[in-house]
Amino acid sequence: MEEKINKSRRRFLIGSTTALGVVGGVGATVPFLCSWQPSDATRASGAPVQVDVSKLEEGQQVTIAWQGKPVWVLRRTAQTINDLPKLNAQLVDPFSSVDQQPAYADNLYRSIKPEYLVLVGICTHLGCSPNYQPNSAADDNAQWYGGYICPCHGSRFDLAGRVYKHYPAPTNLVVPPYYFKSDRVIVIGIGQNAKGEV
């Protein structure tokens, strides 16, 4: 006790050791936080998938899994394609100004080819998967040329995945990245512009 206590040295050592300890402690949590990222097995299921559309009839829709999500591929009839512009007044975002689709699908049909619609089948409200209702005449006064109705909260979308007004869903359905590998085959998961690079 005879020696004088060097207070500033003590304060420096406490401060620096604590600082290092905090850095170490935070560093130790990194692997634990990172391990919640999707695993390689999950990423493998998110790899691009191919769909053969040659067997699809007009008005027929197939659902496939990409990243574990339902993805719809619909072959629209000529009638449907003609009806799309008539609905504009009833829709929240008829011209797709909200970024819910790749640039190459940012058009009236929300698709590369008007005939084929590709959508992620998850409602933009709270994540349920809407049902495909091609013809059923809806019972309310909105014009209805077929579309999608979400079973959870009743949100309605037309056959380009555009949301109707006065329903809970805020935006149009998402169009995933995709491209036509050939006339018959669509690849979902890689965009048109990335084609050929991989």
């Binding site: 060097n6 050791t17 493998a44």
Partner: protein
């Protein structure tokens, strides 16, 4: 005194390690930094092993990244038609068939280098010899009554068993070796050793793929803790100066 004991213990330890390492010249040590060797090993696996043996815990993508093979090149040349880059490496031969043809399931090779050792694989691949009493006509020094055909025979050539007579008291196999037979292989003995090395090296990698990340991260972590130790030591010393 304490110091002397420690020094003696340390020197003992290292001399034992040195003797153990130096006594057997046939020991192979995996070298993960040798990417060319790992790539050759992958090629041998794809050409000769993958028909029967799976690497079911590995993914193609992981190999292409770790071995520095560009994605597109890998997809074109090494990826089977039915597989995707993200899939695990499964064999084409069903295990039911294997049991019927060879009497045993072909083991998954992902962890073989951990279950046995890379060195074991290295010697096993070189240990085949002609044995008419076996259904496949071959036997192995390391794995008696082996159920696997010698798929590398056309490379290595036929080998014959030669045992030393005078040391019969020892366990069989320990004093036996193989010598070149009549039918020569397409590669030299040295080249074949390299083939066995590359395969063992590649399988050592599949058994321990985290090693790339592990050792580089480990160095940083240890350096950090060492730094922390210095500060913790100074802090402790500073406070304990009070205590007499």
């Amino acid at each position: 005194m304490r110091r002397a004991i420690l020094i003696t213990l340390f020197s003992c330890f290292f001399s034992i390690v040195a003797v153990a390492g130096g006594s057997d010249q046939g020991v192979m040590t995996p070298d993960f930094s040798d990417q060319a060797s790992l790539q050759r090993g992958l090629k041998i696996y794809s050409n000769y092993c993958s028909g029967c043996h799976q690497l079911s815990y590995m993914r193609y993508k992981e190999i292409s990244i770790d071995l520095g093979i560009p994605n597109a090149l890998f997809e074109e040349n090494l990826l089977p038609k039915y597989a995707r880059m993200g899939s695990q490496i499964t064999a084409t031969m069903a295990s039911v068939d294997a049991k019927r043809w060879f009497g045993a399931k072909a083991p998954d090779l992902t962890l073989e280098a951990k279950r046995r050792s890379p060195n074991w694989i290295y010697h096993y691949l070189q240990g085949f010899y002609q044995d008419k009493s076996r259904p496949l006509g071959v036997n192995n020094l390391l794995l008696e009554n082996v159920a696997m055909p010698n798929v590398l025979e056309h490379l290595q050539g036929q080998r014959l068993l030669q045992c030393q007579q005078e040391e019969k008291s020892l366990k069989s196999g320990h004093n036996c070796r193989t010598v070149a037979g009549k039918i020569k292989g397409t590669v030299s003995e040295q080249e074949f050793k390299q083939i066995a090395y590359d395969t063992a090296n590649f399988l050592a990698y599949t058994a321990d793929p985290s090693r790339f990340q592990r050792e580089s991260l480990g160095l940083k972590v240890l350096l950090f803790i060492a730094l922390f130790c210095v500060f913790a030591y100074l802090l402790k010393k500073e406070f304990w100066r009070d205590v007499r």
